[in-house]
Symmetry: C2
Subunit: 456 residues, 2 copies
């Protein structure tokens, strides 16, 4: 094993340069003008896998962006790990707030700044480099491995789920390994065993057939922007409790044991507030900040627009108003059912002075991994050896809907081996990923592959 870890140590600079090439590709999947860039990112991974002389490397075309597949079979008695990652990234906007351009990776104070650095190019690339370390240093690879990288994670993986369903045999595995989550804190390795689900809706209200003069028509015509605000205000009450009838019906209550586990997690409320520039925190009554951020369902406006947004004062009664609203879900909420309840409730709040359109964007199921699963234990030991610290087990507020799909379709549990940090500003300007954790990630992955057969 010394040689695989040694190979990693001596090839750091090369690994960084390769990651930078990956990060330079603006593979923004939500923006159709970046279609070709998304394809280029897929090709980049194909080339990397092909250079490793695996048993099979293939680019699968889909109705959307292609799926990158790779496979190496060493011994059928050994566990098979399916590595999942995504090569698409969030849009970089607002671009003017980036200190250095989003697609020109730069290292500052030990962090790599670039869109996708943490989410998910930097994190998922660690597992490719870990395999390379074994093969290029002439070592036997201790497990069977499969890679699947998609280019539609940021738009809800519409092609991946059908792909998994059609390729159950190809993807057959003992567990899924994913690095797309955050450590609980700096130098604090963490394994995420719970993820929230997601329902993402868009509301549009249309009032008059054109923008009107707010003096001439104001008072006589319903204003869709006011009406939208009134609807959104009715989605939560003053205690932060979501008002959609039936919303909480299947929510698993937090047990005393759960709450005790939460209390063991290190958390400094003052530091948390300070980092976010907040004077006060506010959320659902009766829950702590950590519980609100990961174990409780939420409802957030993600975007809002209407009328005149420019400089100065334009007196306009807008024709249209719109909002994007996401709900984070916890076990056992069903995203489709929540979407239906949302739709029914919002429809009940609008009247015929405006025309309401509700669109459902991608969603995903919440997920929980069994804490006694042997894969989790091997991962914990790998973290401990590389970081010299016992990892924490935590639930996370974000969503990786595919985790629930892997469970359902392949019957495989996921190991969420996060190397990122919550302060990485994923989905925000100035996304970053610690260069040190990029290297430790590769080593932890290599160590995990070494240890896994012992636990199975």
């Amino acid at each position: 094993m010394a040689t695989a870890l040694g190979y990693i140590e001596s090839n750091k600079e090369q690994f960084k340069e390769e990651l930078f090439d990956f990060l330079r590709i603006p593979s923004v999947s939500t923006d159709s003008s970046h279609k070709d860039d998304v394809k280029e990112a897929a090709k980049f991974l194909i080339n990397k896998l092909e250079s490793l002389d695996l048993d099979r490397v293939e680019l699968f075309e889909t109705e959307g962006n292609p799926i990158v597949y790779g496979e190496l079979n060493t011994d059928e008695s050994r566990p098979t790990v399916l590595v999942y990652g995504h090569y698409d990234v969030q849009p970089p906007d607002p671009e003017e707030l980036w200190e250095t351009p989003p697609f020109e990776p730069t290292v500052r104070d030990g962090d790599i700044y670039a869109r996708g650095a943490s989410d998910d190019k930097g994190q998922s690339f660690t597992h490719v480099k870990a395999l390379e370390a074994y093969l290029k240093s002439g070592n036997d690879f201790p497990v069977n491995i499969k890679y699947i990288f998609e280019g539609e994670e940021e738009i809800g993986s519409p092609s991946l789920v059908p792909f998994i369903e059609e390729h159950k045999d190809l993807l057959d595995c003992d567990m899924v390994l994913i690095s797309d989550t955050a450590m609980f804190a700096k130098d604090t390795p963490s394994i995420t065993y719970g993820l929230r689900g997601l329902t993402y809706m868009e509301i549009e209200l249309i009032g008059p057939n054109r923008d009107l003069h707010s003096g001439v028509y104001g008072g006589a015509v319903e204003n869709p922007a006011n009406a939208l605000c009134e609807i959104i205000a009715k989605l939560k009450d003053e205690n932060g409790v979501i008002q959609i009838p039936g919303f909480y019906d299947n929510v698993e209550k937090l047990s005393d044991k759960d709450r005790e586990a939460y209390q063991k997690l290190p958390f400094d409320k003052e530091e948390y507030k300070e980092k976010l520039g907040l004077k006060a925190l506010k959320g659902e009554k009766g829950y702590t900040t950590l519980e609100r951020a990961s174990a409780r369902p939420t409802l957030d406006v993600n975007g809002l627009w209407s009328g005149y947004q420019g400089e100065g004062a334009k007196t306009v009664l807008p024709s249209k108003a719109g909002a994007k609203v996401s709900m984070r879900l916890v076990p056992n909420q069903d995203p489709k059912r929540i979407a239906k309840l949302f739709r029914e409730y919002v429809e009940s709040l609008a009247d015929d002075a405006v025309t309401l359109t509700i669109t459902e964007h991608h969603g995903g199921h919440p997920a929980i991994t069994d804490l006694s699963f042997y894969g989790l234990q091997a991962a914990a030991e790998a973290f401990k050896e590389i970081y010299n610290k016992e990892p924490l087990f935590a639930r996370e507020g974000g969503s990786i809907p595919i985790v629930a799909d892997f469970q359902k379709v392949l019957g495989a549990q996921s190991i969420l081996m996060g190397f990122g940090l919550n302060s990485d500003a994923i989905h925000s300007p100035n996304e970053k990923f610690s260069l040190k954790d990029f290297y430790r990630g590769i080593k932890t992955s290599a160590k995990f592959f070494e240890l896994l057969p012992n636990y199975s």
Copy 2:
């Protein structure tokens, strides 16, 4: 007099071409990048006035955009009319909704399409052409006339009020003549004797110091977009009644006589709805549509923004949310007092989980002209002779704050001689002005000057 009206009739094509030159100048005062265009529009008017050989023509520089002044004294025993207009225009956006470019005037079905066609270049230009008709046809001009054109009407006339205060003698007059309002309906001449005032506020809420991932932080951090909607929803109740404490304190109640006058105005509710593409009308309970649109105070969101407004689904808990909110005021509401009440109420609704900033944009006082004023009667007779129809007397929902200022500083009442239509789409894409009414406007203005001495 035949010669002045005859001159108008034979110079229609020339007048139209001159107006088109005026409309081609994109004098958008809310947008600082159009500063030079605004100046060019002022120069255009100076050149027109200079070509008439008046007693005085002058461009007054101000801290903002220049004021155009012109003066012709014929006989001090005659009434002096101060013509007011504005050469600045609203921004053209959303520009993609214009059928022909906003600054390339085009005639379709008898209407001139261009930004500023009705508001106010086309309407105010009529009074310049009316004077020209007398002078160029060799007729004696029947009154003394002064012109004042400003370039900041769309941004609240910040330079005009100080200018009037500093030039009381220069602007001394018996009445102010303004064409910046609409006729009640097509071929239905109307004199506006009441205008609403305006208070225009901007609210900004800042939550976290950057856009956050709505999964990682959602639930634990107050969302400024949700908070903004909650504030806006509390500004009115379900009956359309504004909830700002003290808002209605000084509102003049609608008398039975007022309501009778309203009932005499022709109004087809079905046609009104159809033109606006609405299934239903909604407004303050207990009032008719016309009352709501002109005699009652209002509160409207003019613009709304937060987070991700692009295509698809970006999961973001936004850092900021903002709204522009205008309130139309009726006699005797004071715009400054209303701004203060708005500020106090909104401040009481926000808590320290977000940072609130409230900005006051320009406002203006409501105004009413005495129905028995001789200038109004002369204007009514002029309309009758040119349109062959008795004009209606109506209150209008829009604001021309300067009307209240002329009253206060110069002690002069205003004659609002509107040639536009409410369907002119002022402040909207595809603004238009009837070419026929442009010509009838010039004739009505000429007739008004002829008749006025008989009424004084």
